[in-house]
Structure formats: structure tokens, C-alpha cells
Amino acid sequence: MSLAASDVVPGFGDQPFWLIVIKVLGVFVFLVVMTLFSIVFERKVVGRMQNRIGPNRVGPWGTLQSLADGMKLAFKEEIIPLLADKPVYFLAPLLSAVPAFLAFSVMPFGPEVSMFGHHTPLQLTDLPVGVLVVFACSSLGVYGIVLSGWASGSTYPLLGGLRSAAQMISYEVAMGLSIAGVFIWSGTMSTSQIVAGQDHRWYVTSPLIVSFCIYCIAIVGETNRAPFDLPEAESELVGGFHTEYSSFKFAMFFLAEYINMVTVSALATTLFLGGWHAPWPIHYIWAGCNSGWYPMIWFVLKVVAIIFVFVWLRGTLPRMRYDQFMHLGWKVLIPINLAWIMLIATVHVLRSRGWASWQVAVTVVIPTAAVLLIWAIAGEAKRHQNYVAAAEEEEAEARLGPAFPTPPLNLVVPKAPAVARASRARASLPRAARRASVSQQGDDDE
């Protein structure tokens, strides 16, 4: 395949050193600013959704709130637990934050621009397997979480870290599978070429829409955010893996969390929403919208839109239970994903062999749709049947009597100890006396 033929994506092999430094700085500043922005944005939007106004003290309309919080966090007292495994304890936040920054190195911000007389793409670097870099980095981030839980020398962070890790690994599977569909459809793993492939039509408008939906659900689990924020459910738990962290180290975890959010949003933009390409009608109105520096606007707007959806989810949905969450990940998202990849692969192979659209439709799409429809109807019928059965059972139970515990009508109540002693005493009496006392007791009962 072409992947093996060249190790370098065209345009990225020969960048001068100063240009790389500028781009690295640019990506770093972008991520830090996006983190500060998304924290304020999230608090503002969630506030509005709850009839509040959110932060409004620091800076104009409270926009500098997260900056102030970050400064405060950095200057706070640092408490290191006595039982902490010091080297690992220090390493874990770095292991969490550095890959988060690293993952953004392959994100395409825009097309080729002229920078100090040098033509270069608006992207730090790219590889033939660019998207896998993002994956590798998010997997490395899990190490940071597991190790921080372990190194804290405390039970709660350990459990929280394990839960976080279990969650991220589970949802990474669904996320990876949904991206596999994009690889098949576009024929490349390089981010810049995937964006180039969406020049005319975003992948979200193709059969990849299902992959996109699954990806959107998976990234919420992957970034540990509501409604999947079980490991750090602030209203129920202490705080998960970062319980024992304070000051700047805690800030690193915080930063990593929000950068991961920006990263998965940017990846969604790149893979499904046309990357830096302008949204559909703008292209006709403004011919230059996809050249020069302007595409950065579209890219950032799309990322912010996805972050808004993140916040919207948080503002709307209650937290899921752990078993429901794992059920959704393993038994719903992954099977659907696998089936959909099969379908996409089949369609792709048939079309590459020169089949016309109608042929593909008749041989693959219509039968699949029919099977799915029958499956859905059968499932609904079965659910209805179960429901009717359960309702009937309940009705039968209701006919038996009240649902709350009532003693049966033929209940034999054991005698109280004093009564039992008295009847034992009566048993030792002569027969006639006993009969008299028994009949007297019977009278009393009636």
C-alpha cells in the first residue's frame, strides 16, 4: 500500500527548525487558551441552562475567571501524602498532561499558508498514520491516571484510577472502531489527507453518520465527562484518581482533562465535519473562505460547537449507573460499530470494483436495511410481549391482595414467653382442672 511507500506526508518533511518552533508554540498557546476558554464557556452555558449567569466577577463578564482560578491553583499549598510513591507521584500528572498536548500535533488547523515567505500547511506535523498518534497519546494518558491512583498511596484514588482507566479503555474501543470506518472510507490515516478527502462532501453526510454518532457518544465516555463522569462524580465520590493531588499537579490533571476534550472535539471536526473546510453554503457566497488563514475560523468554530454539545449534555442528562454505562459501551456501541464497519467495507469494495450506486443499493443496502428493520420490529414485538407478560403477572399479584407485606390469614402466632410458661404450668395440673382452664382460655380468645 501507499502507506509503506513513503514515511512522510507531502509537505511535512522539510520544515525549517524555526517554523517548527513557531508551530509548537502556536499549538501550545491554542490549547492553553482553549482550556481557559472552555472552562469559562462551560460554566457560563451551564449557568444559563439553570437560569443563572455563571461567573461574572473577574474581567469583563467574568471571562477571566478560569485564568484567576488557574493562578490561584498554582500558588496553593502543595500537600503530598506520606505514603505516596514519590517518583511516580511526580511523574503521573506529567504523563497525563504531556500526551494531551502531544496529541494535538497532528491536527490540521488549515490549508497551506505563507509564513514569512515560506509555504507550509497550518499543522505541526503529519504522519501516514496521523490519527493513530492521537490514539497512542490518549492511551498514554490512561497511564497517568492509573499511576496517579497507585502512587497516591490511598484507597480512594486507587479505586478511582481503576474506574477511570476501565472507562477510558472501554470507550476507546468504541471510539477506535468508529474511526476505522473513516479509514476505510477515506483510504488514509493521515489527518491532512482525511480533511482533503472532505473537500466536496463532509464524511458526516455519508454512511459514516452512524460512526459519527458512536464516536460522539464514545468521546464523552473517553473524556470522563457527564453523563459518563462516574469516576469523578463530584456529588457522590471524593474526586477519583486526583483526590490526593493539590496545587500545580492537580492543575495539570485539570488541564489534561480539558485539553483531551478539545482534542477529541478537534478530531471529530477533522474526521467527520470537514476539518477546516467552511460550512456548506459559505463556499458559494465567499470563494476565498477555504484559503489562507480563514479556515482556522471554521476549525475553531466547529470545535467550539462540539464543546457546546459536551456542555449541553452535561446540562441535560443525569449521571448514568456504572453497569448501564458498561452495558452501553460493550453491548450496544461496539456491536453496532462492528456491523457498520462490515457494511461500509462491503460498499467500499463493491464501489472500487466499479459497481454502480444502484447495484450497491440493491445487493447490500436494501437487504441490510430489511434485516435491520425486521430485527427492530421483532425486538419491539418481543419487548411488548415481555411488557404484557409482566403487566399480567403484576395484575395477578394485585388480585391476590395488597402489595405491602400483610400477615397471611391462617397465621399461627407463637405464644409470648409468659403465656407459654403459663400453659406449661397448666399442663402439670390434674386433667379436670386443665380442661376448665383450656375452655376458659378459649372463651377469652373468642
Binding site: 441552562m49 439553570q50 437560569n51 443563572r52 441535560t316 442528562l317 403487566a391 403484576e394
Partner: protein, 210 residues
């Protein structure tokens, strides 16, 4: 279809319409009026019968209504009120009748603003104002004394001790005529004036601190 998600439960099964409704609700709420009040900068009037800090009222001639009976202290579930009664004499009279409240303290660290003391008071001496700014930085000053709680003197009132001006006997203080200004809705004290927010700054009389 509106069948319950589980038989026997009242919650409806999840449907796409319900899903859209839920997300629509949070989305539209973003554009609705916010409830936030910019409190220290904008002060809004409380409800007219808001339970704020207490006031010890006066008769129209300025004599105190408190007779030192301690019923408020006995009614208090939080044990926030301390009263010591004293005897009026002909030369030094603070209230009509035999007794007056010589020492009167309300501990606002304990008070739960339930209003049972108000219900217990037989002379309507103790009432509540709408003032709620009762935060201070030390415990001692949150025990309000009689001077702080007494209603300020209005025009026509005379600071006790002085003889009874409304009649020869204390009964004259509890007739319809002597209470007439109150019945007509005239303010008993500035602290009870309806519809006006009372803040800590509004009542300076009798506060020997801040």
C-alpha cells in the same frame, strides 16, 4: 406509545420525542431570564413578613412595651433570648405597670428566626423587622443587647424613664384609643415600616458598634 419503561412505574419509556424535549428544555432555558440577583450591589425588598432581626417596640409616649415576662425566652426553641425583669418605681418608670425588661439580649448565633417569640409576646413588644444583614466577624457582637433592639424614638415619643403619659393606670395603654395610631396603619417604628427594605445602615440608633 406512552407505556411505562418498567411495568408498575410511572416514568414514561424513553422516546426520541422525549429525548428532544429534554434537550430542548435546557437549550431554551439559556435564552430565558436569569434569576440571579446582584445582591450586595442591588438590594431587593424582602417579602413584607420576612423574619428579620427583632425590634423591641414602644408605646406612643415612648415607654417600653416589654414587661419583662420572659415568655419569649421560654418560647424560644434555640434558647437564644435572655431576659431579666426589673421593677418600675414612681421615680424611674420604663414601662406602664409594675415590671419592665431590665436586661434583654438576643443571641443571633443561636436564633433560627422561627418567630415563636413573636407569637409568645403578650404585649406586642417584640416584633421582627425585615433586616437580614446580620453577619459580623466576631461572636460577641452578635449578641444583641436591649439598646440595639429598642425601636428608635419617633416624633412625640419621650425617652424613658418618665411617668405614664397616656393615663393613670397601665390599662389605659391597652385601650383602643391609645393604640389608635397603630390601627390606622401609622408606623410604630421606622423598623416596621412596610415595603421599605431595612438594612443595617437604616437603623443606626442604639448601635454602639460599626
Amino acid at each position: 406509545m406512552s407505556r411505562p419503561s418498567r411495568p408498575g412505574s410511572n416514568e414514561p419509556a424513553p422516546t426520541p420525542v422525549g429525548f428532544a424535549k429534554g434537550f430542548g428544555l435546557t437549550f431554551t432555558t439559556m435564552f430565558k431570564k436569569v434569576f440571579t440577583e446582584q445582591y450586595p450591589f442591588d438590594i431587593y425588598p424582602t417579602a413584607p413578613r420576612y423574619h428579620g432581626r427583632h425590634v423591641l417596640n414602644r408605646h406612643p409616649d415612648g415607654l417600653e412595651k416589654c414587661v419583662g415576662c420572659e415568655l419569649c425566652a421560654w418560647a424560644c426553641p434555640a434558647d437564644a433570648i435572655y431576659v431579666e425583669g426589673g421593677d418600675n418605681t414612681d421615680t424611674e418608670r420604663y414601662s406602664p405597670g409594675e415590671r419592665y425588661g431590665a436586661v434583654y439580649q438576643i443571641n443571633y448565633l443561636r436564633c433560627i428566626f422561627c418567630g415563636l417569640c413573636i407569637e409568645a409576646c403578650p404585649t406586642r413588644s417584640l416584633t421582627m423587622s425585615n433586616e437580614y444583614e446580620l453577619a459580623l466577624d466576631n461572636r460577641q457582637e452578635l449578641i444583641y443587647t436591649k439598646e440595639q433592639l429598642m425601636a428608635p424614638l419617633l416624633p412625640g415619643m419621650e425617652a424613658p424613664p418618665h411617668p405614664m403619659r397616656l393615663g393613670d393606670s397601665e390599662k389605659d395603654y391597652y385601650t383602643v384609643d391609645s393604640q389608635a395610631p397603630l390601627q390606622k396603619g401609622e408606623p410604630q417604628s421606622s423598623a416596621n415600616e412596610a415595603g421599605r427594605p431595612i438594612t443595617g445602615r437604616a437603623i443606626e440608633v442604639g448601635r454602639h458598634h460599626g
